[in-house]
Amino acid sequence: MWLFIEFLARWLHILSGVMWIGLLYYFNFVQGPFMAEAAAAAKPEVTTKLLPRAMWWFRWAAMSTLVFGLILIYMLSTDSGSAYWSSPRGVSILFGGILGIIMWFNVWFIIWPNQKFIIAATKAAVAAGKPVEGLGTRPRIAFLASRTNTMLSIPMLFFMAASTHNPWHLIGG
């Protein structure tokens, strides 16, 4: 039963992670370049109708990934004791986990609060029939945090996958 729950937690951790990083890549590789080229009249539609939906799945996928990751840390510690975290596999997964927690923090405490403000300001401007104003540095801060997460996702996934699938056995090999 314990092993099944551990398997379930790992499966849900990966499933949530795919949705989170998939949406992160969508924002950075698809939506960002689209918004740079889109007609001015089309932008509020994206910000008020598409972005809130994408951000909902994005932030809750990040939360779900973290929660199941923490459950896995607890279960692995219970299975193998603290020695696990000094083993090659444990160190690798810990490096990935630390990067993932930094990314989760960026989502919930930098990207989402700024995007929430931008969405609300855009909705108010559309309702009033006025151009969007008063966003200040918020779009830039959200953009940089999102790009930072895209950058961090590369080593994060390397260490997560290397913990069991590194074909060269270099980590601790």
Binding site: N28, F29, P88, V91, S92, F95, L144, R147, T148, T150, M151, L152, S153, I154, P155, F158, F159, A162, L170, I171, G172
Partner: protein, 31 residues
């Protein structure tokens, strides 16, 4: 100097470099 995070190429390059640096830290400093 331009922020490398402003371009996707710069972002991916930084990500790969960070991967190599962290990997070397794990390989050389820890094991």
């Amino acid at each position: 100097m331009k922020n490398p995070l402003d371009t996707l190429k710069g972002t991916i390059t930084l990500g790969v470099l960070l991967t190599v640096v962290l990997w070397l830290i794990v390989e050389l400093a820890i094991f």
